[in-house]
Amino acid sequence: MTTPRERRGAVGNQIPPLIALIVLWMLLWGEFSWLNLLIALVVGIVVTVAFYLVPVQLSGRLHPLHTVVFFVRLILDIVRASIDVSWLAVKPRLVTSNAILEIRLRTRSDLILTWTAVATSIVPGSIVVDIDRESSILYLHVLNMQSARDIESFRRRVLDTERRIVRGFGSSEDVERMRGVRPADRRASRLKGTS
C-alpha cells in the first residue's frame, strides 16, 4: 500500500521531466504562445504517463554558478579533445595504444553517476564500456594512453568532472563525500555524541 505522502512524492518526481518536455516542445516550435504551452502540457503529461520511467532520485540542490562552470568547462573540454582526436586520426604515423580503465567515483547517487558517465563519454577520447552501479565504478575505454602518467592524469580528469557536477547539482551528502567527510562517519560521530 502506498501512503498518500509517497504517492505525492512519486508525482513530484515526475515534474522535472515534465518541465523538460514542455521546454523541449517550446524549443522545437521556436516561439512562445499560450496555446503552445497548453499543448505542451497535454503532450508532456501523456508522455510521462504512457512512457513511465523509474523515478529518478533528484538531489534537490542546485548551485547556479558551479553548474555554469561545469557546462563551460565541458564545452572547452569537448573542443580541446575533438582537436586532439582529429589530429590523432590524420597524423602521419598512427600509433594506437589504448586502455580500459576502472574509475571509482565517490558519489552514491544514480543521477550523478549517469551525468558523470555522459559527460566523460561526450568528451572525445573516452567511451563508457561498462558501469558497476552498486559501487559507482565506471569502466572507460580511453584512446591514446601512452604511459602510467597519462592514465593517472585521465583518472584525475574524470574525478574532477565528477566533482564539478556534484558541486553544481549534487546532494549535500555527495558534496561532503567530495571533501572526504563520509556521511557514514558523520552519522557514527553524531551517535557517539548523543550517547
Binding site: L24, M26, L27, L28, G30, E31, I75, I78, V79, A81, S82, V85, S86, W87, L88, A89, V90, L94, T96, S97, N98, A99, I100, L101, E102, A117, V118, S121, I122, V123, P124, G125, S126, I127, V128, V129, D130, Y139, H141, L143, M145, Q146, I151
Partner: protein, 114 residues
C-alpha cells in the same frame, strides 16, 4: 568592417565543422579496431555539429533558430554517448577487440578476480 568580421567568423566555423567531419571519416578508416573507431565516429563530429549549427544561428539570428540549434546540440550530446556505449559494450562482450592495442584492461582484470 563588421561584414568582414562576419564572413571570417562564418568561414572559421564552417571550416572547423567540415574539418571535424573529415577527421572523423579518416579516423573511421585508419583506426584499427571497433572501440577506437567508435571514438572517431561519434566524437569529433559533435564539435563539428556545434560549429556548423552555431554558424547557422549566427547567420539567421532569431529566437526560433537559436532554440532549435540548442535542441539539436542537446539531443546529439545526449544520444551520441549512448550509441557509443551500446556499440562499445557489445563489441567488448563479444570480444571484438584487439587486446594487443590495450596497455591496461582493468575490466578484464576485475572479471578475472571475481
Amino acid at each position: 568592417m563588421s561584414a568582414l568580421l562576419h564572413d571570417v567568423l562564418t568561414a572559421i566555423l564552417v571550416l572547423a565543422g567540415a574539418a571535424m567531419c573529415l577527421a572523423a571519416g579518416i579516423g573511421l578508416i585508419r583506426f584499427p579496431d571497433v572501440l577506437s573507431r567508435l571514438h572517431a565516429a561519434t566524437k569529433p563530429q559533435i564539435f563539428g555539429l556545434m560549429a556548423v549549427t552555431a554558424d547557422v544561428a549566427i547567420n539567421n539570428f532569431s529566437v526560433g533558430t537559436v532554440t532549435l540549434v540548442v535542441a539539436i546540440v542537446v539531443f546529439q550530446a545526449l544520444t551520441a554517448p549512448m550509441a557509443a556505449h551500446l556499440v562499445g559494450r557489445a563489441a567488448y562482450e563479444t570480444e571484438h577487440l584487439r587486446p594487443d592495442l590495450l596497455i591496461v584492461d582493468e575490466l578484464r582484470d576485475r572479471r578475472a578476480a571475481r
